[in-house]
Symmetry: C2
Subunit: 307 residues, 2 copies
Amino acid sequence: MSARFDPTILDALEAALPTLRERAERALESGLPGADAHPSRLHEAMRYAVLGGGKRMRPILVYATGQALDYTGSRLDAPACAVELIHAYSLVHDDLPAMDDDDLRRGRPTCHRAYDEPTAILVGDALQSRAFELLAEGEGDDAPAPAARAGMVQTLARAAGSRGMVGGQAIDLASVGRRLDAAELEDMHIHKTGALIRASVQLGALASGPACAATRDALDRYAKCVGLAFQIHDDVLDVEGDAEDLGKEQGADAARDKPTYPSILGLRQSRELAERLAGDAIDALDGLGSGADVLRGLAAYCIQRRG
Amino acid sequence: MSARFDPTILDALEAALPTLRERAERALESGLPGADAHPSRLHEAMRYAVLGGGKRMRPILVYATGQALDYTGSRLDAPACAVELIHAYSLVHDDLPAMDDDDLRRGRPTCHRAYDEPTAILVGDALQSRAFELLAEGEGDDAPAPAARAGMVQTLARAAGSRGMVGGQAIDLASVGRRLDAAELEDMHIHKTGALIRASVQLGALASGPACAATRDALDRYAKCVGLAFQIHDDVLDVEGDAEDLGKEQGADAARDKPTYPSILGLRQSRELAERLAGDAIDALDGLGSGADVLRGLAAYCIQRRG
């Protein structure tokens, strides 16, 4: 563990995490149509796919960014929910037989196993629409200004689309069975997971109100480093974690001959790189006060989590 | 043909159609990332899925609505493109082996045949994101106000999602092999195709600037009738059209045991219902001047087209 990690940072996170996670669950619960909405089987399946647990890393980043900017109000709920719906839809489609063909997700049957394949395709499609609907809606007294709502849609759509997350999945598809170098692997992850993590922080900032360019840049540097650290640690966990913590089969990526950081850099160097990036993320926040402690803690948590 | 169809209406449409279609193609061409954007195979497949022809009914409705409201400027291009991207993504996912398992679309191999199944899933996902990105962007001098952009995102997202188009596809899935009554079939089509056609007209109105409530209501009545007439005529064509005009196999829906209007009402009554609805659509526009002639012509075209 680098000297830059003050142990009290993790304490601040641990104190805040249950509340933030609960808030994320509430936002998701109320952001999704009820299971009795017509057609009910589709809506039930959408709720199954989203409300079945998960770390809620992305909504927590939205809330923690708000906190770093001294805003904790209700304008954060729509982007917190929206970014997690995009993440959830991508998992549903990733798990499909034509993609990773996974039977388990978060310890439960994947959506196409619990329902069926056509339903899982539609669930993913509908979750994506719902994410943008939520961002655009803006109801209530404390609703973001229309320009902030349009800006959030633009930010999330760009991060989710062909030049962001989906682009990363396409790069991933093309990489199976090929030997990537570290730069190509980084390019894949910057798209596949990095774009949405970066968007989470950008959305938190957009919802919180105007911030100066220096603060926005600092938050963006933070998000880029955290996104990559998170992914490298994911690869490390895939090698060394056990199946129970992960909720999926250990060694799954390696078994599919997917390129990973440990397979290219080795396990020790991968761990060191993740640590260095988490440290850089924390350093990026130097100009921010103690409101940013949860963000700092998340950077440390990213490379310490067991699943 | 009902007495309400003035033949000069179709003349007005025929004169306008090539220009509107060309404008739609240009909007799509420039609304999609270039085929050389990274990752290039995904972007190439997105362009393959969208730029391979099609009636462009939805973008044309956007432009025609603008014209009815005396606006023909560039603010119509983003919604025209966005609504067609949503339509195109739904076709790509509909054609997948797990859904309709179609080999041909518009006379060419479907996206998953021309590329592969994972790519087709990602193409659909990315087209949806791009639609919302385009609506939210608003660049240039004549860009819509942020409130109009947020309103357009909300309108399209709702129409595309689980309580609109995707909901209709779920109702469709659940109906295969079941005997629906006319009300259930109408409910399916109001969701499956009606929602997006209605959204096309709403987007055209939102992009054109403020309109009075009476005009908005009239346009909405028009759009609802046209959407259903369009679908009934589609079902009629599936029975009597020939494969060449349709670009897909004739009788395909009936062969899959999908409920259709002719199978419930009979062919003659289905044709009469489509005609009545097209007439109602034209009547709804009584308060609008000659600027609405293209909309009127589209209602007539809807039930006369051969493919």
